[in-house]
Amino acid sequence: MEKRAHFSGWTLPLLLIVPQMAITVIFFYLPASQAIWQSFLREDAFGLTSEFVGFENYSAVFEQPEYYRAMVTTVIFSTLVAFFSLAVALLFATQADKSLRGGHGFKTLLIWPYAVAPAIAGVLWMFMFHPTLGTLGRPLNLMGFNWNPMLDGKDAMILLVLSATWKHVSYNFLFFLAGLQAIPKSVIEAGAIDGAGPMRRFWTIIFPLLSPTTFFLLVVTIVYVFFETFGIIDAVTGGGPAGTTTTLVYKVYADGRSGGDLGLSAAQSVVLMVIVIALTAIQFRYVERKVQY
């Protein structure tokens, strides 16, 4: 005997979605529309004078050679961080999925870095890999690697990718682990009986079945590297040396905060928002087709 509840009218459903709608409007639509409005104005830092300048801020953004450099930096940085944070998390998750002694403790430890604030993570990595004061940077130099993230752009980028990846692996790990545990054991056992080795089982059975999780994480990770890494960048390199680690989001922050130029900074945020919306749309349009739900 099946029970069915019937609701009449709109009141209850509306009431139920109001809190979520309110949060979205207050914390996303309002600030986003404010940023768009701000990007058409030129103001001094104190907002004493402001004039409407149309698209002047946008043309100023696209006239800066530094902006294109930041774009290239962003592409390199996000590709590396997205790839490594997904790959490493998947590796950890498949290993943690095996039943092992003390596995619970490992899982907890792997989740920990997610609880560390980006700025704190940044300072940790910066000091560990400081070329002469760092617990890891110093031995590197003593071993003859010429490690100097303070002057060498490549070293600085490696350090940033490491710290940003380290910070995000936990999040991806959690979802991968949950995804793996949702895969029915019988399917994998059937593969094993048919004689497929562990590698083959992974690539032909497990990986395709994980694809919804992988796709979701890809979208979230891209958003993460685009928006949430500025705290790490600020603490580790401050966009240096010589601007080699200034990504688009760090530039928004630096121009708005240290430059006090809210119009220019807002114009950059809007451009960034458009880029991320476009990226997400592309992912849903093309990548999602390959996902098997």
């Binding site: 030129r42 103001e43 001094d44 830092a45 104190f46 907002g47 004493l48 004078t49 004039e51 910066m126 400081h130 070329p131 002469t132 004061l133 130099n141 303070m150 002057l151 060498d152 752009g153 401050g238 966009g239 240096g240 040396p241 010589a242 601007g243 630096a254 121009d255 905060r257 240290s258 430059g259 006090g260 130029d261």
Partner: protein, 436 residues
Amino acid sequence: MMKKSLLGALAIGLATSTSAFAQTEIQWWHAMTGANNDVVNRLADEFNKSQNEYKVVVSYKGQYADTLNAGIAAFRAGNAPHILQVFEVGTATMMGARGAIKPVYQLMADAGEKFDPQAYLPAITGYYSTAKGEMLSFPFNSSSMVMWINKDELKKAGVNEIPKTWPQVFEAGKKLKAAGHDTCGFSNAWAPWANVEQFSAWHNIPMATKANGLDGFDTEMKFNSPAHVKHLQNLVDLQKDKTYDYSGRDSKSEGRFTSGECAIFLTSSGFYGNVKANAKFDFTSVPMPYYPDIQGAPQNSIIGGASLWVMGGKSAAEYKGVAKFFTFLSDTDRQAKLHQESGYLPITKAAYEKTKASGFYEKNPVLQTPLLELTNKEPTENSRGLRFGNMVQIRDVVSEEIEAALAGQKPAKDALDSAVTRSNQILRQFERSVSR
């Protein structure tokens, strides 16, 4: 509207219930941490106990840049604090905000407080005054750049005289490197402050036109002169074998001195507390080195640190309280004590003289080094101070270009040329936003 009056009533109710009469509250936002934070709290406490009309309430708002941003955001929202601590490079930004601030000289005159600008050290107040000598903000914690010396290591390396000139520093650096300091002969923190700002003033070379921006926002950068280029090129050449080794654009690597790695290290005189607590060797600080072939060097150094700005739009009663507080801060005995305990520079001539007369500097020469630098000669157009809009951003640009030169990506001349061009764009942008 309804809410506001209710809150107001509540606040008044609370205020009157805690004290027999209503005290006028003075909000003071600052960026001081550690021992300096204690100094701020103690000063407010002492002032509050010294009278019962006004109450100074302090709040820590993060680093200098965060504090400035918090002040700006609060002003935009219509609830700025009365007193905002702003670091020296934020001076032009605050000056440009004519409607947002109340100049200190005006505040003191309106409140009828006794105030003589001549009582303060010109090397310090010059930075915060108009061309006419009107004091705009109240100097609070001032420092300058000095050269920190690890005497033990210099002795070991066979450097018998503490270097005074740059050529001597290069020599000492080479000796130190040969004696086992192979990662760092000498170094400095605060790359732009050391190699452009202080370097220019100390050698009496303009960093920019219009008295380094003090005489107008239409200033143009000039720090790509042959002398500047020569100095940066020297550092670039020495960076190759780490006789000089770059330590970043801020103070994060100051530990290289206290750990003993770098035996010669240029950074703020405010580093004193840290050195005293952590250095396990015989240390001292001496004035910055100079190039003896440059006419007029050494001139005088310029200050770092921060001053207190008074925000606009408050009531006369509140301003009276702020003025009283500034008078309280200027007290000779209090200034002398503050200077001797915290290592900040005294801001009044009287406090400096008093400390000198007490024989304090014979025992603590390190605390006098920045004062000797600042008062070395009567300040010139090139050494009164700096006033550039969006200076924080300009420092980032200068740091970037210095890094590019040191990393061997471009010659010193190109790096400084490019830094000048980019800084000028920032200056023009600022000029446009304030001149409307």
